[in-house]
């Protein structure tokens, strides 16, 4: 990458696309894990430019999309409590729960605040000692160090009115769940560059070896993604199945060790339900017993709240790469960003939102031409 003048140079992009097309002797099927990568691919139309050389399947790497309905309903219940200040990343506000979403709870008088960093929620708790401040801790390994630090910090400063509703998930178990499925078509992965920035890639080495799939640690710019695809196809053509790092400017093999260390200190691995997919063993993070005082589920007794997912939404098939959003019968009619049936239509990383937003833009451009 060091000879590239830009990560989005059209000339270089064309050259890479040419290389990919030339090196593919057949049509290969790759999955990009992260929703951020999906958005780059769909927005730039990379999947269309690659033609017959590769089919890109969109993976489950959208934390907003895979947060189970039950956790959303618990968030809604917390946000409606009179003494609670409910804090969250902005992405979660429009995710539909069983009855409504966080924005609607706010409109009815619930105190819901968007924070940029989980440390902002800790600061809010400190400023408002008479209130209960709850933070909605969702995300993959990229976000886990920030959330772990918020708990660690609250413990260190003796802040007792701060808790977290935790719905953390981890990437490698989802990849093996996809590979284990009898209807799996994925032959190689673009691994999520920022998850690997934190975690490194040692966890992926046994997956690549056991399932004989190349795994390319890949960044988020168009040239990153094209290079990741190129490296993956080169391995497939050569019959290799290794972990390879495309995102060298950010990712080291061991990851960011102090971040990993605190995540392991604060959280432990648990079975976790993924919305639309089901329970994946040891795929989630929950607070360790030592930090149980910061667990909103325990403090507010939320285990009574149960929910079953609506059958209409086929997000599970989309998240497993079995259904492309435009092929869903609900897409664009019964389900739109204004009236979503499922989270992938509202999340900034959701595959359905990517197709809806950028597909429409492309159609308009065609219309203008």
């Amino acid at each position: 990458m060091k000879y590239l003048s830009e990560y989005r140079d059209p000339t270089l992009a064309r050259a890479l696309i040419g290389q990919i097309r030339q090196s593919a002797s057949r049509r290969w099927t790759l999955m990009e894990v992260c929703g951020g990568q999906t958005h780059t691919i769909v927005k730039q139309g990379l999947d269309e430019l690659l033609g017959e050389s590769v089919e890109m399947i969109h993976g489950p790497g959208c934390p907003v999309c895979v947060t189970p309905l039950e956790q959303i309903d618990r968030a809604l219940a917390l946000a409606a409590m009179p003494n609670v200040i409910f804090t969250s990343f902005g992405d979660m506000l429009r995710v539909p729960g069983s009855e409504c979403d966080l924005l609607q709870v706010r409109a009815r008088g619930g105190e819901v605040r968007v924070v940029y960093s989980p440390l902002d929620a800790v600061a809010l708790a400190r400023k408002n000692p008479e209130r209960e401040v709850v933070f909605f801790a969702v995300g993959f390994e990229t976000t886990a160090p920030a959330n772990a630090m918020a708990v660690w910090r609250a413990a260190q400063l003796g802040i007792r009115n701060f808790t977290m509703l935790v719905s953390h998930v981890t990437v490698p178990p989802a990849m093996t769940a996809i590979l284990d499925a009898p209807d799996n078509r994925v032959q190689g992965f673009l691994a999520a560059g920022h998850v690997c920035t934190v975690m490194g890639w040692t966890e992926y080495e046994p997956i690549a070896a056991r399932y004989r799939v190349p795994i390319i640690v890949t960044g988020f710019e168009p040239l990153d993604i094209l290079e990741g695809i190129y490296l993956g196809i080169r391995q497939l053509e050569a019959g290799r199945c290794e972990v390879e790092n495309q995102y060298v400017r950010s990712v080291r093999r061991e990851g960011t060790v102090p971040a990993r260390t605190l995540v392991e200190r604060v959280f432990h691995l648990v079975d976790r339900q993924w919305r639309g997919i089901g329970t994946i063993p040891m795929s989630g993070l929950a607070l360790r017993e030592e930090f149980a005082a910061f667990d909103a589920e325990l403090r507010f007794g939320l285990s009574e709240i149960r929910a079953s997912e609506p059958t209409e939404c086929r997000a599970g098939e989309v998240l497993r790469g079995l259904l492309k959003p435009p092929d869903c019968p609900m897409f664009g009619n019964r389900c739109t960003p204004e009236h979503p049936l499922g989270a992938p239509m509202v999340s900034s990383e959701g595959a359905c939102a990517a197709y809806f937003n950028y597909g429409r833009i492309r159609q308009r451009q065609h219309a203008e031409v």
């Binding site: 830009e6 605040r113 989980p118 990229t142 998850v195 920035t197």
Partner: protein, 98 residues
């Protein structure tokens, strides 16, 4: 949600034992937790920042290029969003409207 943005560390300080710093994202400045990279960085270095935390040190040369690419792709939506949220958080801290 896993979006990471490279920014330049302007200054570093300790906040009750936690390494924090002011980070410049093409003109937008924010307080960022540097605890995970404090052994590796000094003012002037670039760090990859995700939800207010530096998660890796980035080579400055590479960081500039990524940022230029981001700018070109008009993907500064995230920065605009950050600016908006930062303003709102400040309002919230000072007791203003959320």
């Amino acid at each position: 949600m896993c979006l990471g943005i490279p920014g330049r560390i302007v200054e570093i300080h300790q906040d009750e034992g936690l390494a924090m710093g002011l980070v410049d994202f093409g003109g937008v400045r924010r307080e960022v937790c540097l605890a995970y990279v404090e052994d590796q960085v000094e003012p002037g270095d670039y760090a990859l920042v995700h939800v207010g935390f530096a998660i890796a040190k980035v080579d400055e040369h590479e960081a500039r290029r990524t940022f230029e690419a981001l700018r070109q792709m008009s993907q500064l939506e995230e920065l605009d969003w950050m600016r908006e949220v930062a303003d709102r958080s400040l309002d919230a801290m000072s007791g203003g409207p959320a």
